[in-house]
Symmetry: C4
Subunit: 369 residues, 4 copies
């Protein structure tokens, strides 16, 4: 990895120069006018960190645990589809990097590496499987079983994608999977395995989703899923306390605050602002995860202070992958880890539990005296 | 239509490259320093959409109705003058596109196609006639009668144009109607039909308005109009609860929140901010319409959540017309429809009535916890 | 005057191309980092105008009166020094344009045309004399007497200039009066009449002020001035209710809210924000004037709604003067007059007294429902 | 010094053109994404100055005192490391300029001039010694003793640097001290005196800090320091009222509000916003100092009004040094002094005690009426 890549933004810039436009656009786009894409980042800056000084921080630990598994740091990998467009080893490389860091890798249903390949490549990673519910419910159930069989530790049901958001660049590019790649979790000849050009002039992936995902799922389907598997079920995509409450009632193991990287409904709140609402509602009854626009150690510190247990990153992993495969992903996580550790050190936090709610405050709130 | 035109902004950009500057400037300008023009768009972004998840959205309907007429979608066409500058078929093409979409087309008094031509070209459109009250009151009454006779379904009285706002580009361009066009609702030799260069160095249309429109009209004239016709009368241009209240007292069939596309008084509120004031005042007593800066499905969703029954678009229609005539207008509406449908799908809304007030919140309000 | 100059900003741009840099910089600069210079303009945009509709505005009057004198419009000319750098006829031309418009012209103490010259050139203008109090108090008194003798109608004591603010461009330019010009109210050989290069590497005008103005004046000196003349005394430069209150106690005839065109203390409030504080304090006991950043009819409307009796313009006059002498100044005022009239027409205001406090509201206040 | 350098920003620009990139980047960088670096400046602009008029300001004094020593102005020099990268005379030149101005110079522990050299070069400066606590505690104690012996008047313990913040440019540049320079307070052959390339690809200074500073220090160590010396002990880096309170309990002589020039934790509050919190907590029990982004006289006035006793500048001194050595530093301070004096004059303040809390107000607070 190039030593000049010293922050996540550097990786983003370098990746943009390397990736074919169709892949780059697919990765970086947000929905329609991308207002939320910008908000995800900008909202971070509306929070101040209030450091505490003269506390002994000579040794620190970033370790935590989730569902009984130990993690070396609270930064984990969110599911992003089609990673082999960024690097030949795709999801296998990302998962392996997560393993080296002792953290979680989440595999997308619509990955270009299969559940079993990823399991083989990354025995040390704590692996979660991100599920989309297909119209074909038995096929869906089979995915869950395969994940469990392959040693995955949780099922993450993504609930913010009844259909895919409109990403204008993908329509312009008539986005499609390069011919040498496939949706590796499915038979390559099945409907679910094929992401071909349907001649609609639309994004190929959006057409695929419309054809295959079940837009009719409800809280009942979440309960069905929880019943169908012994794995903990996480619900991903929650933005309101109302839905967090329903998720808890359904029996989820964790709530994942996400706006899908600003790729679904343009105009939803940035996740750093939705987080406190969800945390207040959940009130300690289960862990709360978050993702969306985390590119700095300071951002991660803020989310932890606001009550998140784990902070997931999506695009930064893709940029690492595009720049240098597994080592690139490793490096991106390493950078964020160092930045978080640095913020903790200079804020008087020896462990994650030292990062308390009173250590962050909104600018407007602080600037009142 | 070029497949690369995937959003309203694309049409605006393409239209700017095609239109003669004088027409382009007339279409795009706002009053004086154009502060409200920018605010109309920017204010949209100060609202967050709060989606609800895991609701069955496998089938959806965008259908609604107005004054007893069914519409296939809540997006309609606002009156904009002089559409033949954008395309030879002008208002006839726009009306026809509205008809194909099963929605409302509003014809301006100062159109370049006549009431009767539009009626013939667009039998399927639900047609409203937008009225300016002329000094010559019997001529005014005749317009209303002709609209009724031609099958128009409502009269929209525009009340925010006692005189025309100052649009600096029009003065610079010494704006005038191209010689081959005419104000088609009037005798071409009459005062009201002639928009010639008066040698004032001012905008020709502004001089026309000063000479012909009655700047002395009051709420009494609105009552007169309501009496004079059996058609429902809509009052267009309301920005305050005070005037909404007076309109209701006068007996209007609907209130249309508008700042005339930011073309009249620079500095008035953006319509998305005036809307909640008017909705609260009206309190369900009549439908509330809105226009001003709607270019994304998310914007339209926000207005519906805030209580609008119909969202009208002005300039986007002109951009569609300039790019590809009727098909261009059709495409612009199609894009907005798809974007709205996408937001509804991913926000758990199966019908328009599922889009409730609690699904939008101002950024400042949400970012308090 | 070039017909393309359709707004004040056009005049500013054209003037910048014509003026020598030293004069341009002197005219346009604000103090130090020019934060307030920008705020003066930007703060205008934080206010919304709430128009009222369907009121008979077929005839309108912008007329008003001050100290018993009738004005044809509420827009007047603020004192700006050294106007002959912009045009050979300088203050005489500006005053004459004010006369043609039936409004007030305020002559600076440090003008390049004398009290008597201006009186001769502009018999129709309502003339105010802006006073700086010199160390030489009898010389100061003589200025007041000369103004009275020449038919000036008020003395405006500028109280925000104990010393001149730091204008960085003037220091860089080693600003000085071109040799053919002089401070016309003084003997050309006296200390007070000479603005020569003092070899300090500082702005010549700032050095002059330091040498000649009395930085020790207090509210007692204001009372002295009120006693010394039968003319109404206006106090210019008030930004706080505390000082407005003291001014009223001293017996002023009017309070002029000003930050000296953002040229004195950088960081003071924009005048549109100081205005409501002063108006509330004064509470009708005397007229309140305002200046600072008024370049649009909408801005002027806002100030009138907030309680100002007259709105003064400084730089816009200089831009008019630089572009086309008296006719340029006339044109600048004409533009603002037309813009104000247009806003009034479209906001339902027939006279200035129809412009009420409830017709403006801050964005934050309005955007709460 | 070039006469065109009329403000601190001019010096910054000129310095950027002269300094080698490695030094420039070290000097100007903030931590990670530099959000706080920008906030430090931008937050200043959210405060308005409310001047008071017609007070006798013909003579003024900027004099003040600290720990019994008289200062001619409330502007002092903050500790910045490695000043010889900017100019061969480094800290000696800066200290000497402070002496000529009758103000405080603070010498960094990691200076390129030694305690004794600075004492010799700047007998007239009031000298403070900024301390970092080393793992080697006796070496640390010796530094304190040497400072006392050399006539330094206070020990400033920097508590916001358990480790150094991540400055991305320094990593990119593989930052290191030019070979001809050394950490002059230490034996050149000792660990503490050597800032060599450790081949880590990291910033050399950050590695040095990690190896040598004690990250385990607590409030007990502050108490130890207070016991070990008879000099007043100032604690530098306080941002919260909680830590201000603990500092007072420990017995400090003054609290210094600082975010280390935005170089430690990115995302902490700008110091102008932290200041009122600390002032309220301290409540007059000891002086409060502040630094961070002060580049204008208006900024300094605001801090004084908010309760600061002294305002320290960091980077402006480096820019002065880089442009013209001692004379450059002198000039930078002179500019700020003149700007502060100008603001005081035009705000009715004859002495520092006239700069009261009611003379500043946040924009949001003021813009409410
Ligand atoms: C290119 C891309 C593909 C994604 N694919 C999926 C997916 O298959 N399943 C899913 O639940 N989320 C998916 N997401 C959303 C991510 O899990 C995550 O919520 C988001 O990327 C976090 O924001 P960030 O990219 O700003 O870190 C995708 C995001 C991106 C950018
Ligand atoms: C070029 C143009 C011409 C217009 N002509 C009329 C008109 O004749 N009558 C009318 O009531 N409104 C007219 N309007 C205002 C529109 O009906 C509508 O309020 C506005 O365009 C909505 O804002 P939008 O353009 O941002 O969608 C016009 C607007 C534009 C841009
Ligand atoms: C070039 C210039 C010279 C000025 N000279 C004077 C003056 O001699 N006396 C005075 O009271 N105000 C003076 N002012 C301040 C103006 O009277 C007025 O307060 C200010 O220009 C209003 O702001 P505006 O320029 O944005 O309209 C001057 C302003 C400028 C721009
Ligand atoms: C290049 C540089 C080196 C610094 N070195 C030190 C130091 O050695 N010790 C310390 O306490 N603070 C150090 N600081 C922080 C300054 O003392 C001060 O807090 C900061 O520079 C003030 O902000 P300003 O640069 O915006 O004026 C340093 C700052 C800079 C910019």
């Amino acid at each position: 990895v190039d030593g000049r890549l010293v922050c996540v933004q550097d990786f983003a810039t370098a990746a943009a120069a390397r990736l074919p436009l169709m892949a780059l656009d697919y990765y970086r786009s947000g929905a329609t006018s991308q207002v939320t894409l910008i908000e995800n980042r900008r909202a971070m800056r509306r929070w101040y960190i209030l450091p505490r000084l003269l506390r002994d921080v000579s040794t620190r630990s970033l370790g935590t645990s989730v569902f009984g598994h130990s993690l070396q740091l609270p930064i984990a990998i969110a599911p992003t589809a089609l990673q082999k467009m960024a690097h030949p080893l795709g999801e296998c490389a990302s998962a392996s990097a997560a393993g080296r860091h002792g953290t979680v890798f989440t595999l997308s249903t619509i990955a270009t590496s299969s559940i079993e390949e990823v399991a083989r490549s990354a025995p040390n990673a704590i692996k979660f499987f991100q599920l989309y519910i297909y119209r074909d419910r038995s096929l869906t159930e089979k995915l869950v079983e395969r994940a469990k069989a392959a040693g995955f530790k949780a099922i993450v049901l993504t609930v913010d994608a009844a259909t895919f958001g409109i990403r204008r660049a993908d329509i312009r590019n008539n986005f499609n999977l390069p011919p040498h790649l496939k949706l590796a979790n499915f038979e390559s000849t099945s409907d679910e395995g094929t992401l071909g050009d349907r001649g609609t002039g639309n994004s190929g992936i959006n057409e695929y989703v419309k054809d295959n995902f079940d837009a009719g799922i409800t809280w009942q389907d979440l309960k069905w899923l929880i019943n169908v598997t012994t794995l903990p079920v996480v619900v991903k995509g929650i933005l309101t306390s109302a839905d967090a409450s329903l998720a808890l009632q359904a029996g989820v193991a964790a709530v994942w605050v996400s706006n899908h990287g600003a790729r679904q409904v343009d105009g939803v709140p940035p996740t750093i602002e939705a987080l406190p609402h969800v945390v207040a509602e959940v009130n300690g009854r289960c862990p709360v995860f978050v993702d969306g626009g985390f590119t700095d150690g300071s951002d991660i510190f803020k989310a932890l202070a606001l009550g998140a247990s784990l902070v997931f990153i999506g695009r930064p992993v893709l940029w690492g992958l595009a720049c240098a495969g597994e080592q690139g992903v490793y490096q991106v996580i390493e950078i964020l880890k160092r930045e978080l550790d640095n913020v903790m050190t200079n804020s008087g936090c020896r462990t994650l539990s030292d990062i308390t709610r009173d250590m962050v405050v909104r600018r407007d709130q602080f600037s009142k005296l």
